[in-house]
Symmetry: C2
Subunit: 312 residues, 2 copies
């Protein structure tokens, strides 16, 4: 019986790779650079070589390996086809088939944000649940939806794009997606900073934020220190995220909402600003949905990728 | 091999029952009254008697019947347990097990709005699709979400409650669910009428709506006749429904949105007011989602119930 499983998380600058036992214990992890030349043609061969080298080093036979799961920064359909990953230079092709040809092992592929959600469900903040909404508050707002233990990819790999839920008709700035008023413009690390700078620039109100760097960390530090202006910023963040999550719950009725990404390092305070808006506006059948913080940090992707191939 | 399947749609005043061949052709349909005395204790026995009588009349053996599907006006979980149906007096119990004991046939159960969505996917406006968002614009706004051909029930049967997506922070009236600013308050037949009366009462603007009954039908008739005030009403309806559908698509990325219910009898005009808002605010991966009108009317429930047991 297979003893090991590989999880791969392909990012724009590095590829994270880990191997696990089939119970989900991470045994070793490492990184290789993401070589994007020639439309990213070397990325999968490089990953395959790295996995083969690790198998040789550890004397693993193919029979010892359950398979390889891969998270990709772009939409991926249920069959393991990436539908474009602009950040890597990739167009449309089967990550699953390509990698299976390179390795002779079973391969599964998914979108990186969705795969991270699966990781948090398997061994992270949402462990023990099977219906999970994961929100990753980083440079953008990533989302992943797990229903009955499986990733929801949607009809063309665009499910769980919760950072692009429209939350504000009055926004004048354009989101990275081309729309105006997306959740990501308020509740990502970038969005929170943007709101803080807007408020700072529109008044002379005193704030510790005037004395140094303005970013998600310093903003939530200021919130914890009782800074009134930072509190206003956090209220904007929390209102839009709470409203969006209430909408998501009316649609999929999850057991738990798991909040991760860099912003979530501030701790429970990031939930405290969200929950009142959620509870106020959500349909009563989802009012008791649990809120948890993610636990796996940057490893969520390799955990989820490993689970992807085990669960297949 | 089984040749027939029964579909049952339990409503507050009547129970609709139909039998179909397993390809989905409706052979005969009829209704019986919903007897709500004694917390609805007679409802399922009455349905069972009616099905047994039909089987006797048509000389059907049990082996001829694939099973019985049932739509219930309340949340139902994946195992066929109703979690409350206030309208019938029902608390928590297994509709599936109770009905299987009464009939000795395979039984599946689902929420009525979800089951109607399945019906439209099987033989109605969304035929040929397998990822469907169904919106039923009636007294309320009902919703049903079909993913890969299966109903999404959610963790406690409260998925697809899209009528209670919060769309307006400034609403002062309370929705039937207890919240304020739910989609249902603007885009249901009742909601459209409410908005029309508000606009009529707040100005002296001329409108054909001042000369007779104000309801969803007369409002959309006035829209088609070029009435400027009715156009304003339809714009409110369309803005909130379009925004809510854009949000839903960011979450589940459907292939098609199917609009049904009494309001949809007005025809394509009900979509014309929704699409521009949807296209403006939806994530680009779901921008090409198709919009269709439902086709099965009040029979969607019995079609979907029949499909529920075939697809199980």
């Amino acid at each position: 019986m297979a003893k090991y499983v590989f999880g791969v998380d392909i990012g724009g600058t590095t590829v994270k790779i880990g191997y696990f036992d089939t119970e989900g214990t991470l045994i070793e992890k490492w990184e290789i650079p993401t070589v994007k030349d020639n439309n990213g043609a070397k990325i999968l061969p490089d990953v395959a070589e790295s996995i083969k080298a690790k198998m040789a080093e550890k004397n693993m036979a193919k029979e010892d390996v359950e398979g390889v799961g891969i998270g990709v920064p772009g939409p991926v359909d249920d069959d393991g086809n990436v539908l474009k990953a602009a950040n890597l230079g990739w167009g449309v092709f089967s990550v699953k088939n390509t990698m299976e040809d390179l390795l002779g092992l079973k391969v599964s592929a998914g979108n990186d944000a969705n795969v991270a959600a699966l990781g948090e469900m398997w061994k992270g903040g949402a462990e023990g649940y099977s219906n999970v909404v994961m929100v990753t508050l980083g440079t953008g707002v990533g989302g992943g939806i797990i229903l009955k233990g499986k990733i929801l990819n949607g009809s063309n790999g665009s499910a769980g794009e919760i950072g692009h839920i429209h939350v504000n008709d009055d926004e004048e700035d354009v989101c990275g997606c081309g729309n105006k008023g997306c959740l990501e413009q308020y509740s990502s690390a970038t969005g929170i900073t943007r709101i803080a700078n807007k408020i700072l620039n529109s008044s002379d109100e005193k704030s510790v934020l005037r004395d140094g760097d303005v970013n998600a960390k310093t903003i939530f530090d200021a919130v914890k220190a009782g800074d009134a202006l930072a509190d206003k910023v956090a209220k904007v963040y929390g209102k839009y995220l709470g409203d969006a999550l209430a909408c998501i719950s009316a649609v999929v009725n999850p057991e738990v909402i798991c909040v991760g990404g860099g912003v979530s390092k501030a701790g429970e305070v990031v939930l405290d600003y969200v929950k009142p808006h959620y509870v106020k506006n959500v349909f009563h059948g989802s009012r008791d949905t649990a809120f948890v913080l993610a636990k796996l940090g940057n490893d969520a992707g390799i955990y989820g990728a490993a689970k992807l191939v085990i669960g297949d």
